[in-house]
C-alpha cells in the first residue's frame, strides 16, 4: 500500500522557498479573486486595483510606509522574543504604555525645545514600554507564570491605564468632555520629511531594524539568543545566560513597541486619545510570523501588509467591497504562507507500506 508522507528536508531549500512563497501568494490571491467574483465584482480588475492603489503611486507608497512604521516596530520586538521562544503577545499593551510615557513628557515639559523634548519623549516611551515588557519576564522567571497569559492580560491593563489618564487627569478642558489630551506643542511633534507625509519615525525604524540584524548576526549575545531559542536545555548546559536573555528580549521588545506608541501619539495624532489603539500590537504577531522572525523580512512584510490595508480602502471606495473582505484576504495570505512554510521544511514523498 502506497501512502503520502512528509519527510523533513536535510538541506535548506534556498531559492526553492522563494518559489513556494510565490505559489502561496498566488493561491491566496486566487481565492480572494474568486471571492470577489462571487460577490459580483470584477476579480482581476479588483485585485489589480488593490495592488495599484497600494503601490501604484507616490502618494500610495508614502501612505503604506507611514502605516507600516508602527507595525514594523512592534513586529521587530515580538519577533525577537519569539526567537527565544518567549511568546510575547503584549505588544499592544507595551505600545499603549509607550504612548503614555511620551505623552507624560510632552504634557509635563511643554516649554522644552524640540531637541530636548523629543529625545526625552522617546526615552520615556522606551522606559514605559520596557517596564511593561519586564513585568511578564520577571513573573515567568521568578514564579513560573506563563508569559502568554501575563502579556495578554497586561494588554488590557495597559489600555485601561491609558484610558484612565485620558478620561481623567489628562483630559483637555477644551475638548467638550471628549476623551483626549490637549494637543502637543509643536516641539513635541515628530516632523515630516520634506513635503511628504512621511515622518522622521522612519529613521527610527532604520535604526531598529539595522541594530537588530547586526545584533542577531554578529554579537555573542545574539548568537546565544538564537541558540537558546533552538534548545533551551542544551544552551543552559552550555552555561548560556537564559534568564538574562529572557529579560533582555522582553525589555527590548517592550521598548520597541513603546517607540511605536511614541510615534503614533506624536507624529500622527499630535495628542493622546483612546483611538490610538488600533491593534498594531496584534498585527505585529502576524507580521513576525509571516516574516519567519527575520528583521529585514519583517520590514518587507510590514510594508506589504500595510499596502494590503491601504489598498483595501480604495477597493471599498471604488467597488464598494465590504471592509471584511480585507480581513478575509489577510487571513488567506497568512494561512497560505504559513502552510507554505511547511513545504520548505518538509517534502512529500510516496512510501510503500508493506
Amino acid at each position: 500500500m502506497r501512502e503520502l508522507c512528509a519527510v523533513k528536508r536535510q538541506e535548506p531549500l534556498g531559492w526553492g522557498s522563494c518559489l513556494i512563497f510565490l505559489a502561496a501568494l498566488t493561491l491566496a490571491f486566487s481565492f480572494s479573486g474568486m471571492l470577489l467574483a462571487m460577490g459580483g465584482k470584477p476579480a482581476l480588475g479588483g485585485l489589480w486595483l488593490l495592488v495599484h492603489s497600494a503601490f501604484g503611486s507616490g502618494f500610495a507608497l508614502e501612505d503604506c510606509l507611514v502605516k507600516a512604521v508602527p507595525i514594523f516596530l512592534c513586529a521587530t520586538g515580538v519577533g525577537l522574543t519569539f526567537r527565544l521562544q518567549i511568546w510575547n503577545i503584549g505588544a499592544e499593551g507595551q505600545f499603549a504604555l509607550g504612548a503614555v510615557g511620551a505623552t507624560w513628557m510632552a504634557l509635563t515639559f511643554p516649554a522644552w525645545p524640540w531637541y530636548a523634548l523629543l529625545p526625552a519623549m522617546l526615552a520615556c516611551a522606551s522606559l514605559a514600554g520596557a517596564l511593561w515588557g519586564a513585568i511578564p519576564a520577571l513573573l515567568r522567571l521568578k514564579l513560573g507564570a506563563n508569559e502568554i497569559i501575563v502579556t495578554l492580560m497586561l494588554n488590557y491593563v495597559g489600555i485601561l491605564v491609558l484610558e484612565y489618564l485620558v478620561y481623567g487627569v489628562w483630559k483637555d478642558p477644551g475638548s467638550f468632555g471628549f476623551p483626549m489630551t490637549s494637543e502637543f506643542v509643536p516641539a513635541a511633534v515628530v516632523g515630516r520629511i520634506g513635503d511628504t507625509r512621511l515622518n522622521w519615525g522612519l529613521a527610527l525604524c532604520l535604526v531598529a531594524g539595522g541594530c537588530m540584524s547586526v545584533f542577531l548576526r554578529f554579537t555573542r549575545l545574539g548568537y546565544e539568543l538564537r541558540a537558546c531559542g533552538e534548545n533551551v536545555r542544551a544552551a543552559r548546559s552550555a552555561r548560556m545566560p537564559y534568564a538574562g536573555l529572557v529579560v533582555t528580549v522582553m525589555v527590548v521588545s517592550g521598548a520597541l513597541s513603546g517607540w511605536a506608541g511614541f510615534l503614533e501619539s506624536s507624529a500622527i495624532l499630535g495628542r493622546l486619545q483612546p483611538s490610538i489603539m488600533s491593534g498594531y500590537g496584534y498585527t505585529a504577531i502576524v507580521v513576525a510570523w509571516l516574516a519567519n522572525l527575520r528583521p529585514l523580512v519583517i520590514a518587507v512584510a510590514s510594508f506589504l501588509l500595510a499596502g494590503l490595508r491601504v489598498g483595501m480602502e480604495t477597493l471599498q471606495l471604488d467597488l464598494q467591497v465590504p471592509a471584511s473582505f480585507g480581513s478575509i484576504m489577510e487571513g488567506f495570505v497568512l494561512l497560505a504562507i504559513l502552510s507554505g512554510g511547511f513545504f520548505s521544511r518538509y517534502r512529500l514523498q510516496w512510501r510503500t507500506r508493506g
Binding site: V66, K67, F176, G177, G270, Q273, E313, L317, P322
Partner: protein, 351 residues
C-alpha cells in the same frame, strides 16, 4: 470649411461638457460596518437617499479606525476628486480638519464634533429629544421603578442621552431610577449583552442602550423584561420586549446639504436639527405599550418638534440634589454639547 467644422465641433464639445457637468461625488466615512443595523447603517440609509438624487454619485468606506487611518481615507477621497465628504464619527474631527486645510474646494461635513473651517461644517441630530420620549415610555412601563442603561463611552453625547432618558421617565413616574453601566464599546454584542444582564440582575425591568449591537435587546427578551432600542427600529431582534427605539433618519438632512452644495448656497456652520426636521424620531410602539401612553408620548413629540417644550428646561438637579438649572431656565446648546454631569435619579459614575 474644414476648419469651421472643426471649430463647431469643439464648441459643441465644450457646450456638452458644461451642460452635462460631471456628477457631484459624495463620499461617506463610517466607523463600523454598514451591515450592523446600527449607527453606520442609519447613516448609510441617508447615503442611499442622496444616491437617488439626480447628478450625484456616492460611495463609502466602512470600518475606518479613528486616527491615522481616517486621515488617509479622507485624504484619499479628496485626492480622488470627491466634492463632498461626510465623516460620521467624532474621532474623525482632527484628521478631517487637517485634510480640509489642504483641499479648500472640497466640502467637508463632520458629524458629532465641534471644530470647523470655512469648508468644513459640523452636524449632528438632537437624538436626546427622541431619547426623552423613549424615557417616557420606559417610565410608564416599569414596575420596579428601576431602568437599566447600557452606555457606550462617557462622552457628552452619551451622557446627554442618559439624562434625557431619565428626565423623560421621571416626567411620567417621578421616583424612577436609571442605572448606568459603561461598556466602553460601540459595537461588541457579547460585552453589551453581559452588561444588560448585570443590570437585569440588580432589578432593572427596562433596558435602554447606546451601542449598535442588539445584544441588550436580546438579554431583555430572554429575561422577560422590556427594552428600548437605538439607531434603527430594533423590534425584529426582540419582538417580545421591544417597546420603541430612538432612531436616526439622515436622508432628508443629507439631501438638503448636498442640494445646497450643488446650488452654491451651502455655508459652514453647526447644523443641529432634531424632531423638528425629522432627523431623529422614535420607532413604532410595541403592542404591549398601552394606548394612553402612546397618546401621551406622541403629544409630547409634537410639543418638542414645535419648540414649545425643551427637554432640558429647569428645574434640573444633579445627582447630589444640587440645582443646576433653575426653574424657567433652559440649558444652552453649548452646555448640552459639553454635558459632563448626571441628573438626579441616575445611578452611576462618569467613569
Amino acid at each position: 470649411m474644414r476648419k469651421s467644422i472643426l471649430l463647431v465641433f469643439i464648441a459643441l464639445l465644450a457646450l456638452g461638457s458644461t451642460c452635462f457637468a460631471e456628477d457631484l461625488k459624495v463620499g461617506f466615512v463610517y466607523v463600523s460596518p454598514v451591515g450592523d443595523a446600527g449607527y453606520s447603517y442609519a447613516h448609510d440609509q441617508g447615503r442611499l437617499a442622496v444616491e437617488a438624487m439626480d447628478g450625484v454619485t456616492t460611495s463609502f468606506v466602512e470600518s475606518v479606525a479613528e486616527g491615522q487611518d481616517s486621515e488617509r481615507v479622507i485624504l484619499n477621497m479628496a485626492r480622488k476628486g470627491y466634492d463632498v465628504i461626510f465623516a460620521t464619527s467624532y474621532g474623525y474631527m482632527d484628521p478631517m480638519l487637517k485634510v480640509a486645510k489642504d483641499f479648500p474646494k472640497v466640502t467637508f461635513m463632520h458629524c458629532s464634533g465641534y471644530k470647523n473651517a470655512p469648508n468644513m461644517a459640523n452636524y449632528f441630530g438632537r437624538i436626546y429629544q427622541a431619547r426623552y420620549l423613549t424615557g417616557m415610555v420606559a417610565g410608564a412601563m416599569t414596575k420596579s421603578k428601576t431602568l437599566g442603561y447600557v452606555a457606550a463611552l462617557p462622552i457628552p453625547e452619551v451622557i446627554r442621552g442618559i439624562n434625557a432618558f431619565a428626565l423623560g421617565a421621571q416626567a411620567v413616574n417621578p421616583d424612577v431610577q436609571v442605572r448606568v453601566v459603561w461598556t466602553k464599546t460601540w459595537y461588541d454584542p457579547a460585552t453589551e449583552k453581559e452588561a444588560a444582564k448585570s443590570l437585569l440582575d440588580v432589578g432593572c425591568d427596562v433596558i435602554a442602550q447606546h451601542q449598535d449591537s442588539p445584544g441588550p435587546q436580546e438579554a431583555a427578551q430572554e429575561r422577560g423584561a422590556y427594552s428600548i432600542g437605538y439607531n434603527t427600529d430594533m423590534s425584529s431582534f426582540a419582538p417580545k420586549s421591544h417597546l420603541t427605539s430612538a432612531v436616526w433618519n439622515w436622508g432628508p438632512f443629507y439631501k438638503e446639504m448636498v442640494q445646497q452644495i450643488k446650488d452654491g448656497t451651502w455655508k459652514s456652520q453647526f447644523y443641529w436639527y432634531g424632531l423638528d426636521k425629522g432627523i431623529v424620531d422614535i420607532a413604532p410602539f410595541g403592542p404591549m405599550v398601552p394606548g394612553d401612553v402612546q397618546k401621551k408620548v406622541l403629544a409630547k413629540k409634537l410639543e418638542i418638534a414645535s419648540g414649545a417644550y425643551k427637554v432640558f428646561s429647569g428645574p434640573i438637579r444633579d445627582q447630589a440634589g444640587k440645582e443646576k438649572v433653575a426653574a424657567g431656565a433652559v440649558m444652552s446648546d453649548a452646555d448640552l454639547l459639553g454635558f459632563n454631569w448626571f441628573v438626579q435619579g441616575v445611578v452611576g459614575t462618569l467613569e
